[in-house]
């Protein structure tokens, strides 16, 4: 980055943005805008600047502008990224090329259609499944979980459903039926949760012909994931799990026990007791 930018000066950067409205246009076209960029501006800031100053009809999805909501996934300079988490000058001082995420249908301009993506996510039952439904609906206590047990799945729970991983996946590029890295990673997130008892219910969607067997570990989903979810790792762990279970080396784990009263919990030494409940 050149020194001038640090003093609040701006550099002109060309934004090349894909414009396309499937209802009226036959082919997409690239439109160029010149954006005055100052240090710290993100790609999303650049798009906002264009919308406010040059062309109000430019469309994209975004919300939190801080890498939390997962709305602003785009194909920026040939790589799936979050527009709000990438600074323009870190990517290029000359040209930013923005296209909608590949492997999703285009609704308009940079807006991808995530409907199938969410359907796949739902198909793996991404929630805690317990056999004792009465207890789950009207809990009498907490499910016990140790810090070690938490570490086993917490990284997979960081998914913000931005969909970047499906854009990077080469299997997804030629096969839209593949369940995909995001949904499979979520299946493992719940399968490996010590409180869950739903492995067998998820089995049908995870190990069918559209499931884990279509992953050949290109690893790109893990490279592009902005949250460190590492979906390709989760998929390999799913494969290992089914292998061990088929060979009868491992069984489905029993769901964590319910701690009926706080007294059942044995506090560790040197950790002060929690304050008394106020309500």
């Amino acid at each position: 980055m050149n020194e001038d930018n640090q003093a609040g000066k701006t550099v002109p950067v060309i934004f090349q943005v894909l414009r396309y409205n499937p209802e009226t246009d036959t082919t997409p076209r690239m439109q160029e805008f010149e954006v005055p960029v100052s240090k710290g501006m993100t790609v999303l800031d650049g798009l906002h600047w264009i919308k406010e100053n040059l062309d109000g009809s430019l469309s994209w999805r975004s919300s939190c502008r801080m890498g939390v909501c997962g709305s602003c996934g785009m194909f920026i300079n040939g790589y799936p990224r979050l527009a709000c988490s990438n600074q323009i000058l870190h990517l290029s001082e000359k040209r930013i090329v923005i296209k909608p995420l590949p492997n999703y249908e285009i609704i308009r301009d940079l807006v991808p259609d995530l409907e199938k993506f969410f359907r796949k996510h739902k198909s793996v039952k991404p929630y805690l499944i317990r056999r004792d439904i009465a207890e789950q609906n009207m809990p009498t206590g907490e499910y016990f979980q140790s810090p070690d047990e938490l570490t086993r799945y917490i990284q997979f729970a960081y998914c913000i459903k931005c969909g970047l991983c499906l854009s990077a996946c080469p299997t997804m590029a030629t096969d839209e039926k593949f369940t995909g890295p995001q949904a499979l990673a979520q299946a493992w997130r719940y399968n490996s949760d010590s409180r869950d008892e739903g492995c067998s219910e998820r089995q049908k969607f995870v190990y069918d012909e559209q499931g884990v067997s279509k992953c050949h570990f290109a690893g790109t989903c893990s490279d592009v994931c902005p949250k460190g979810v590492d979906p390709s790792f989760a998929i390999q762990l799913l494969k290992k799990d089914i292998f061990l279970k088929t060979m009868r080396i491992k069984k489905d784990h029993a769901g964590a026990t319910v701690l009926k009263t706080a007294r059942e919990y044995i506090p560790q030494e040197n950790i002060p007791n929690p304050p008394k409940p106020t309500v």
Binding site: N103, T151, A173, T220, Q236
Partner: protein
């Protein structure tokens, strides 16, 4: 031609990378290229097997047919082709070994709390990829000696 236009619109709207998605790796890691090469070599080996079955199958038409087929394959082009199959086989076998082990959870460490800068299992297994590819290269070089220097 409204129908053709419609089709074009559907294609553009779908925005699928298709086979280009395999070939164009962007700035992705080596494993993505290993993936593409694994598929190409897999198809190559399959093609070779089909050819092989037809070639050896020609024996049922009698000895003369067999000699004729063998004579057909006795050219430098086919020899180079055979060596290519050997390269494909060495690569496919060793990369396949890596996939087999990673599918069993080897070389990838354990799930960790996500702390920036994120590390992933793909990076953790990369040394295995490098070692296996070096072994594949050694096998290919030795095979090359056998094919071109020691052969016949």
């Amino acid at each position: 031609m409204p129908d053709e236009k419609k089709l074009q619109t559907v294609q553009h709207k779908k925005n699928r990378l298709g086979i280009a998605g395999w070939v164009y790796g962007g700035r992705y890691g080596a494993e993505r290229y290993a993936y593409t090469l694994h598929r190409i070599t897999g198809l190559g080996i399959l093609f070779y097997f089909i050819l092989h079955i037809f070639a050896t199958g020609s024996r049922i038409w009698g000895e003369a047919a067999w000699t004729r087929t063998m004579a057909l394959f006795d050219s430098p082009v086919f020899k180079a082709g055979e060596f290519l199959v050997f390269i494909a086989f060495a690569y496919h076998a060793l990369n396949g070994l890596r996939l087999l082990f990673t599918e069993l959870g080897c070389w990838m460490g354990k799930p960790q709390r996500p702390v920036i800068p994120y590390k992933n299992a793909v990076r953790r297994q990369r040394p295995a990829l490098v070692v296996l590819m070096i072994i594949a290269l050694v096998i290919i070089i030795l095979g090359g000696f056998d094919f071109y220097l020691l052969g016949e």
